[in-house]
Amino acid sequence: MSVAGQERWSSRYGVIFAVAGSAVGLGNFLRFPGQVAQYGGGAFMVAYFLSLILIGLPICWAEWTMGRYAGQRGYNSAPGVFHVLVKSRWGRYLGVIGVIIPVVIYMYYVVIEAWCLGYAVNFFAGNIHFGSAEESSDFFSRFIGVAADGGALGLGWDRVNPYLLLVFFLNFFLIYRGVAKGIELFCTYAMPVLLLLGLVILVRVLTLGTPDASVPENNVINGLGFMWNPEKVFLERQTAEGWDKVTEIIGQGARDEAATQVASDPSLRVREVGIFEQLGKPQLWLAAAGQIFFSLSVGFGVVLTYASYLSSRDDVVLSGLTATSANEFFEVGLGGLITLPAAVAFLGVSGVAGMVSTFGLGFNVLPLVFAKMPLGAVFGAAFFFLLFLAAITSSLSMLQPGIAFLEESLRIGRKQSVAILGLITAGGCGFVFYFSADLKALDTLDFWVGTFLIFVFATVQIIVFSWVFGTHRGLIEAARGAPFPVPAIFAPIMTFVTPVFLLGVFGLWIVQNVFGINFGAGAPEFSSYVKDLFITPNPVAWMSIALVVAFGVFVAILAACAGVYAKKPEGTTP
């Protein structure tokens, strides 16, 4: 029995808030809108909802169920969960990935969290009033020190340092207070505030209308159309290689103008890409499945630990569904209606196109938008504080799996485990903070741990649940204490469809993002992440990998030596 076995959530609402808080993050407000806009609302949402049913919900329920099952046997960490569920004595090592992922992601996620708080404070203090995209980009570059390693060093409110120190210690203060009095208490207040802020900003954005009457096509309705129109319309120019996109056409005014241009220039054409043509693109399926996957935080190892603090008769089916639906509401209902429509209303489609990456939209485009908005300082501060709250409820969840593992494997209390994890993550966080040139360290860790390892761990989890623990047995276990069982249709889905779909998406992701094969869109080329390691070796990329390996070895050694994993708990052998 681990020392941490005495901890429990104090209420069902608390655990739902905590899991929803873990899932709701920057991706809901910044990554999702960009993805929808890129692939056309209709086609993307078909693939998105299908992925939710085939990947998101099955893995979510599997994690909740496995976590609670292991928690009843005194285990709270991913190695402990797999020690209980897998017959082999090597099972615990599968769970090592479930400690590496959240702890390493915390090392760079807390830096991004500090950016959000820094922007909120600077908006509130009236320091952000950009007049051009260059000013916005320059501020962001200086703030995070992207020009050179060590570029973020130096004190000042327009530097990231003070915010990083503040959020780092705030995270550990809350974690130190424990599951119920720290994480649960904070999320119980933070999530409603997050919802309130989101609704206030949503009302502000939807009532923007046409901010500049001299540019009537820059309006909220066209912004919504940019995101949600199922068909994409492009103005294209013929070149020696084929047809190149010139711009995307949104609104009747832009259509009329494009028609005039086409009439006077035979090298131009207007092309409409329909929903079925979009659905035929592998990239769209990859993007939609990836968005569901990362948005719900499945495969992180967090829910395994969170669910292990439930009691044997606490519900996991409705609670898991509620946390998932909360994440979907924040993502589709708020994220899908706030960021891009506001950006298009002020900057137009041409001002936003090509800037819809997470950081581009969040820290270059939106500050410019708020700077142009009436009461922009207030709404800018509110929006970035919303992002900060979304981020901190996620980062808190990333620490708990590490804390649980240290408590379990070393049989120590929370005070000692917080101290050890604090030292480890301070070192990793300092590494990411110092090596800020081109965000190389952050980017490398995000790719290999925040994406690649998550795919691996999610696949491991669904296979262990369906094929080792057994889907039938798993669903009976899930139904304990639940107001309704997992629908029967999910038995074959979890056994066959989810693993196959997940492996298919993972394979597609490797083909595209590792080997650089982009399905007809240009010649294959190894991704920059592979080049950084093997073709034109980058020292920072290699140090980032070394950091992950060193931490992984540390966790594996603890898992190997811990007496708590010496024998299987009774009645758990599958």
Binding site: R8, G178, W228, N229, S319, T322, F329, V418
Partner: protein
């Protein structure tokens, strides 16, 4: 924004909002809820 855009947006937003509200309603309405809540004081770190 096209009619298709309005349909996609309203269908997407209303479906996730509806699911979220239904889930909250079920959590609140669950008659056995109190039996499944195990709110007891955990030991604080200072007490260890």
């Amino acid at each position: 924004m096209t009619i298709g855009g309005w349909i996609v947006m309203l269908a997407s937003v209303s479906s996730v909002t509806g699911l979220f509200i239904w889930c909250l309603w079920r959590v609140v309405q669950d008659p056995g809820e109190k039996e499944r809540l195990h709110g007891f004081e955990m030991r604080t770190p200072d007490e260890k």
